[in-house]
Structures are given as structure tokens and as C-alpha cells.
């Protein structure tokens, strides 16, 4: 589905990613974990077409995305839920959802879009309650749900998420993650970037550890959970065993 090969990217002259290769298969949840400043967001922003890579390739559905603008990538089915949610704060919840389907709304899919909005309401019932409210007035967790729902409105094949757990109550995070695994059952592929490694590995099939712009460890969920270094650095294992 998505293949990233030897990607180098960053801001202006600052090279953040120093050759990163990541693969997401059909119907898979893949997570990239790592500390602050490792380049996780840079990776997703580059795949989404907001940042231009210095080198390397991004292939989606067997097409090279190099010449694709950010909008075209959305159209191709590769959508990012950005870090910090970035909902349109002075627009209503419903308008936010409609804008998620912006490209589809030009193609006479009015009733299909309406159906999808209803579907988002059933996935995240709180959004229906708040549909006429301005998005900026929602709580952090609700905004995160809205950001995910907005991205889903474009009917993506691959959903990329940048730290969906940031600043949100653990119970809401579990709820969101449950919804994500449910969407995967329906055929969605997911690339999940997280600092909260424990949470991310709880739903992922495979994972990569990104440190200072390079992949240092990769493997299946079980391999990562059992990896000593990963356990100590990201899962707080030594400490939890002491606690117990």
C-alpha cells in the first residue's frame, strides 16, 4: 500500500530524516514510535505532501507520489490527521466534516457525503451532539475525534495519524484506538505515529522505532514488545517491574 524508501526530508536546510524506509501493507496497522524530535511528524508531513523530500521515494498503491501535490494525495486516498488536530476552529463541526469531503463534493456525491456524515456521527456520537457548535469550542478529545472523522470523510485507503493521544484523557484515547481497530476490520490501512508506545503497540501489527531521523529497530508487535531496549526506553518496563 505505502512504501517509503530511503526518505530524507526536513525544513529548509535542516535534514531531519536521514534515510527512512517504512512499509505499510494492505489492511495493516503500522506504528512509528520514537522520542520528541526524532522526525515522526516530518515523516508524515512529507508523505502527505506538505514537506518536499530532499531524497528518497514514496510509493502509494504502486504509484510514485513525487509529482503529487498535497491535494492529489488526498484524492489518491492517502490522508493525514495532523499533529495537534488542527480542526477549523471557527467553523461548525458539520462544516468541518463537509470540508473533509471537499474533493468528493465536486463530484455530485451529495447523498453519499450525507450518509458518511451520519456514519461519522455513529462512530463518534459526541460529534452529532455538537454538530452546530464551533469546532474550537470542543474539548481536546472531541477535537481529535473530529479531526479523524474529517479525514475519514474523504474515504481514504490509508489513514496517517500524528500523535492522536497527545493531551487527551486515557479513557478517550482507548475509545479512539478502539474505533481505529474497528475501521481496520473494514479494510482501512493505518500508519500511526505515537510517543505513547504502549498504547500504539496495543493495536499495531508491526512497528518501527525512529530515533534522530533513522529507524533503529523494526519488527512485529510481539518482537517490539519483547525487545529489551524498546521495553526500557519506551515502555517503561524496568520501572514497572520494580513497581510490581
Amino acid at each position: 500500500m505505502l512504501t517509503i524508501r530511503n526518505l530524507q526530508s526536513g525544513y529548509h536546510k535542516l535534514r531531519v530524516l536521514k534515510g527512512v524506509s517504512v512499509h505499510v501493507g494492505e489492511n495493516e496497522i503500522v506504528t512509528v514510535i520514537g522520542p520528541n524530535g526524532a522526525g515522526k511528524s516530518t515523516l508524515l508531513m512529507t508523505v502527505a505532501g506538505i514537506l518536499k523530500p530532499f531524497a528518497g521515494t514514496v510509493t502509494f498503491d504502486n504509484t510514485d507520489l513525487e509529482s503529487f501535490s498535497a491535494e492529489k494525495r488526498v484524492e489518491a486516498g492517502c490522508v493525514l490527521v495532523p499533529e495537534g488536530r488542527r480542526v477549523f476552529s471557527t467553523l461548525t463541526v458539520k462544516e468541518n466534516l463537509e470540508l473533509g469531503a471537499f474533493l468528493r463534493s465536486g463530484k455530485n456525491e451529495k447523498s453519499a457525503i450525507q450518509q458518511d456524515i451520519e456514519r461519522m456521527y455513529s462512530l463518534f456520537p459526541v460529534l452529532q451532539k455538537r454538530m452546530k457548535q464551533m469546532a474550537g469550542t470542543l474539548s481536546g478529545g472531541e477535537q481529535q475525534m473530529l479531526a479523524i472523522a474529517r479525514a475519514l470523510m474523504s474515504r481514504p485507503k490509508l489513514l496517517m495519524m500524528d500523535e492522536p493521544s497527545m493531551g487527551i484523557a486515557p479513557i478517550i484515547v482507548s475509545q479512539i484506538f478502539k474505533t481505529i481497530s474497528m475501521l481496520r476490520e473494514e479494510g482501512l490501512s493505518v500508519l500511526l505515529v505515537e510517543q505513547n508506545a504502549k498504547k500504539a503497540l496495543s493495536i499495531a501489527d508491526r512497528g518501527y522505532v525512529l530515533e534522530t531521523g533513522q529507524i533503529v529497530v523494526s519488527g512485529s508487535r510481539e518482537e517490539l514488545l519483547e525487545n529489551h531496549d524498546v521495553g526500557r526506553a519506551y515502555l517503561g518496563k524496568d520501572y514497572s517491574t520494580i513497581d510490581e
Partner: protein
């Protein structure tokens, strides 16, 4: 001041104010999508009115105004494409535009004045267009992302350029569009107040524009997308919105509404090539008065300024009329820079 005079001033103030309001809304539309304050806004208005005036001699007045609006809209798109957009890939459209500007400059400078009339124009274009393609080929690679401030200064250059082009395409005299109904002596009486029916046209059309824009931004696909762009360009792109296109549309829309407002008010206030800069200052004062980016506040601000100006005539000499706007601008900037209707918190988060 008796009651009749009061209402007469009020009607005059409202019509002039409506024009300011439309210019200010134009400022806001572009400001919202780009953060730029477009000081060529007043020149868009004059350009549209000038074209409408020229066309009105051969076309029915409604169609003439339509042509004026269309020309202004295209010009707005050209300004955005040539001056504002920072696109490093080769653009044939930009080349042609630069070529036309070069040709007009050659014509203005009189380089080909030894050739007969008409042929000199053709010669200017023959030389101008390759110059446009040449400049595009050589300099496009040096296009840099500019700060908002330098783009604002650029719009002042565009304003001067537009004004000079207009002074050569037409002349430096004041022109008027014919009254829509009757002539300058036609008077509509409402009790003891009497005014020209043209004032109803101005108020009516400006009101329709405001309602139309409200509907556009609230309910249409592109309107909503433009509001999204005004909040967060990156998030808009991630929704599949073509932000560049929305910026172009914002220039087209503000130029078009300015041209329409300029045309309806032309019979009353005349149209002259250099009136755009004064209008830009008035419109800017109004936009600041209401709070930048807020279109309903712009309407209120426009009407307030128009009325203040109209009444100032009864106290100060007529020549001091323009002082009102500047004074108001100064007072607002000193005491409430976020605008009368703007929120202080929001303005602190903005670059301008």
C-alpha cells in the same frame, strides 16, 4: 441643522459609506485567505468603473457594467498570479502577463512613436511578449517565499502600476457612468427628503453584494473552503483543498465586487484614474475600524465613516472631508487596534 438636512446628509453618508464597506470587504476577503492587505483594492474599483464607462457608449448599461466587473475580475487574477504567487515552475500565463505589462510600458515610453498609430501598439506587443517569456525563464528560479509584509508593499507597487496604466489607456480626466434612471436632475422625494434614485441603486446593490457574499461563504463549497484556508492553510491542504486556487478566487471576488460598487456609484461621485488610492485608505480605515477580517464589522464601519464624512461637511470646510477617515484610523490604531468589533485576543495572535 433641521431635520430635512439631517436626513439628506444621512442618505449621502450611507451611499458613500456603502462604497467604503465594499472596498473594506474586499480587503477582508484577501486578508482572510492570505494575510495580505491589498492596497490595490481601490484601483480594482476604479478599473472596473472605467471599463464600464467606456463600454456604456456602445453597450446597454447593465452589460457594460458586467464587462467592467469581468475585466476587473480577470485583472485581480492576473495580479495574484504575477505578483503574489511564488511559483517557481514555468508559467505561460505569467509570461504573457509580464509581456503585456512590458508592452504597455514600451508604448507608454513612446519607443515606437515614430510608427503610425495602431502599428506602434502592435510593435510594442511584438517586442513585449518575448521580453515577458525571457524574464519568466531567467528569473522564475529566483522566486522566493516572501514575508507578508513585503507582499503588502508589493500591492502598493501594483496600485501605482495600475493607476499609471489607466492614465495612459484612458486619460487624466474625471468620467461618469450615466445615471441608471433619468439623469442628474431626477429626484426621488420621500416626504420632505429628496435624493437621486441612484442612491437607492447604490444601497440596494451593496446590500445585495453583502447578502450574496454571506451566502457564498456560509453555504457554498468554495466559500467554506475559503474560510478553511483563512484559518489554516496546511489543514486545508490536508482536506484536499487547492489553497492556491482559493487565493486566486479571493482576488477575483474582491476585484469583482469592487468593480460593481465602483460602477453603481460612478454617476454620483465620478471616476478618475487616481481615485483608487484615496479609496484604499478609506477602505483600510474602515476595515481597521471594524476589525480586520470581519466582513459584517466592515459594513458597519463603512456606514459609520460615510455618515461621519457627510456630517463633517456641515461643520468643517469640504476640503477637510478626507481628514475624518485618517483621524478615525489614527484614533483606532492608538486606542483599540483590534477594531471596534474585533476581539483583542484574536488580534494578538495575528501577524498583522
Amino acid at each position: 441643522m433641521n431635520v430635512d438636512l439631517f436626513f439628506n446628509y444621512l442618505v449621502i453618508g450611507l451611499t458613500v459609506g456603502a462604497q467604503y464597506a465594499i472596498v473594506a470587504i474586499g480587503f477582508n476577503i484577501i486578508y482572510n485567505t492570505t494575510g495580505i492587505i491589498n492596497f490595490a483594492q481601490g484601483d480594482f474599483l476604479i478599473l472596473g468603473a472605467m471599463v464600464a464607462i467606456s463600454m456604456s457608449s456602445i453597450l446597454p448599461i447593465g452589460i457594460a457594467i458586467g464587462v467592467g466587473v469581468l475585466v476587473a475580475a480577470v485583472y485581480g487574477a492576473v495580479v495574484e498570479n504575477v505578483f503574489i504567487r511564488r511559483n517557481r515552475s514555468f508559467s505561460p500565463f505569467r509570461s504573457v502577463c509580464i509581456g503585456i505589462i512590458a508592452a504597455l510600458l514600451l508604448k507608454t515610453l513612446g519607443i515606437f512613436s515614430f510608427l503610425p498609430e495602431g502599428i506602434d501598439f502592435a510593435a510594442a506587443f511584438l517586442f513585449g511578449l518575448p521580453v515577458g517569456f525571457g524574464l519568466e525563464t531567467v528569473f522564475r528560479k529566483y522566486m522566493k517565499e516572501q514575508t507578508v509584509l513585503s507582499l503588502i508593499v508589493l500591492t502598493i507597487a501594483v496600485s501605482i502600476l495600475t493607476r499609471e496604466i489607466m492614465s495612459h489607456l484612458w486619460d487624466k480626466d474625471a468620467h461618469v457612468l450615466p445615471y441608471f434612471i433619468g439623469d442628474s436632475n431626477t429626484i426621488l422625494s420621500l416626504g420632505s427628503i429628496s435624493f437621486s434614485p441612484q442612491r437607492i441603486w447604490v444601497l440596494g446593490i451593496c446590500a445585495l453584494l453583502v447578502i450574496g457574499l454571506y451566502v457564498f461563504f456560509k453555504y457554498t463549497r468554495y466559500g467554506k473552503a475559503m474560510r478553511a484556508c483563512s484559518l489554516d492553510h496546511t489543514a486545508a491542504k490536508l482536506c484536499g483543498i487547492n489553497v492556491r486556487l482559493m487565493i486566486t478566487i479571493s482576488f477575483i471576488v474582491s476585484a469583482a465586487i469592487a468593480a460593481l460598487a465602483g460602477s453603481v456609484i460612478s454617476p454620483l461621485s465620478q471616476t478618475k484614474y487616481d481615485m483608487g488610492s484615496v479609496l484604499a485608505i478609506k477602505g483600510f480605515s474602515v476595515a481597521i475600524l471594524g476589525g480586520l477580517g470581519n466582513s459584517f464589522a466592515a459594513v458597519a464601519g463603512g456606514l459609520i465613516l460615510g455618515i461621519l464624512e457627510a456630517f463633517s461637511v456641515s461643520i468643517f470646510p469640504n476640503a477637510y472631508k478626507d481628514v475624518v477617515a485618517i483621524l478615525l484610523l489614527l484614533l483606532i490604531l492608538v486606542f483599540k487596534p483590534s477594531g471596534v468589533f474585533g476581539s483583542r485576543q484574536a488580534s494578538q495572535l495575528k501577524e498583522f
